[in-house]
């Protein structure tokens, strides 16, 4: 049977669709597999850079190799004693290493939650006093470019350096335009109300959970 004759058969569209689908899908699977390691490595570098930025290391202009080296050298993985937070021994690294019970200079707490469009994932750094934020960085977000996505830019993130958390139900406020300038918190992004509202909730939940975990399970005292 020739191709022309087969094209007249009722089963031809089904066979054709199946063959075309198989062909293109096979190529895509091959491409995805060959790029999987690279994509995973990119994701890991993004996370490591966010941890470094949150604890106060200037990692913005580092290339991926430098980010990874700085992360391995400076950041300790989460332990039960840190309630899931990464730790940065800081400049007391040399003497801290000799003492297993040494208090780190900064705790880096990963957080995630639903933003306006999709999940927002980031890291917030907090000092052992439990109320001084050292910095914040994001490693995954799909907020609107130019509006909600401005949360990753230095003008927004720099507000979190040396920020003191409030005492009360809301540890952290993202203040909309027109709020009292003396009210504790950081300025929200104009035009990104939903992103800021959701981020405020995500951060408050993450910080409260970590603090209560440290107090409840480790009899931790504010320093």
């Amino acid at each position: 049977m020739s191709l022309v004759e087969f094209q007249k058969k009722p089963v031809y569209p089904v066979v054709y669709m199946f063959v075309v689908m198989l062909f293109f899908t096979a190529i895509l699977v091959g491409l995805a597999r060959s790029a999987a390691d690279r994509v995973e490595a990119n994701n890991q570098i993004r996370f490591e850079r966010a941890v470094l930025l949150a604890v106060g290391v200037e990692a913005e202009s580092m290339n991926p190799a430098e980010v990874h080296a700085a992360f391995v050298e400076n950041i300790q993985p989460p332990t039960p004693a840190s309630a899931g937070a990464y730790t940065y021994p800081g400049e007391r690294r040399a003497s801290a290493a000799s003492s297993s019970s040494a208090v780190p200079a900064v705790y880096a707490i990963p957080f995630e939650g639903q933003g306006f469009w999709n999940v927002i994932k980031g890291v917030v750094g907090i000092k052992p006093d439990g109320k001084t934020v050292t910095g914040i960085a994001f490693y995954e977000q799909s907020e609107t470019p130019g509006l909600g996505a401005e949360i990753v830019k230095p003008p927004f993130r720099d507000q979190f350096r040396e920020l003191t958390l409030a005492e009360g139900p809301a540890l952290l406020r993202l203040k909309p335009a027109g709020s009292d300038a003396d009210e504790p918190g950081v300025d929200a992004i104009s035009g990104a109300t939903q992103t800021c509202t959701r981020l405020e909730r995500i951060l408050n939940d993450a910080l409260k959970e970590w603090r209560s975990e440290m107090v409840r399970h480790h009899q931790w005292r504010w320093r």
Partner: protein
């Protein structure tokens, strides 16, 4: 080459408006989106044209959608692997190229019935026609709304004397700019035909 002016996909055919409105609040995102669309439109038109004599008429749209999705996913994987920063900036908009009416519109209007060379050129120039219109919309939006172009601060617009028009980087600003561009270009075309 009609896609550049007389049959421009944005202001004549009024296609691809969703992404026109969505990505044009920043010039850098617009450039990458345009490059992705030119590649996808050209390659999918070429592929659809090559297969046109084998594709049954009654399932041609399913095949076209499959081919368009294939090239969009290739672009998405390439961005995620080799330009992760831009992949994050564009986010869901790259995947939305699959639903961009220009690609399917040109597949139906040209690629289905023309030889591969013609289809490739048609896709390429329609992609460029889309691109320069998007850039004409994106540059004023970013300049007036953020005071920058390609993230670089511009004199005066990034200074303290310019009160940024945040609305320009929000959806209403996109509609205003698109309407202005369509009005201006159609007025020019009307004068040309007189």
């Amino acid at each position: 080459m009609d896609g550049l002016w007389s049959d421009n996909p944005v202001f004549r055919q009024v296609l691809g408006i969703c992404s026109t409105l969505a990505v044009t609040n920043m010039v850098s995102n617009t450039l990458v989106m345009c490059a992705a669309l030119v590649v996808t439109l050209s390659m999918s038109s070429l592929s659809i044209s090559i297969l046109r004599k084998f594709t049954p008429r009654n399932i041609r749209m399913m095949v076209e959608t499959l081919i368009i999705a294939f090239y969009v996913i290739v672009v998405d994987i390439a961005l995620k692997a080799y330009w992760p920063e831009m992949s994050r900036n564009l986010g869901p908009y790259v995947g939305l190229i699959i639903t961009n009416c220009i690609v399917m519109g040109r597949a139906e209007a040209c690629a289905n019935s023309q030889p591969p060379g013609t289809a490739l050129v048609d896709g390429f120039f329609n992609g460029f026609g889309y691109s320069y219109v998007l850039l004409l919309i994106a540059i004023p939006r970013e300049l007036l709304g953020l005071g920058t172009i390609m993230g670089r601060a511009m004199p005066y617009f990034s200074g303290p004397h310019w009160d940024k028009w945040t609305i320009m980087v929000m959806p209403p600003g996109a509609f205003f700019m698109l309407a202005a561009v369509v009005w201006i270009f159609r007025s020019i075309q009307k004068e040309e035909s007189v």
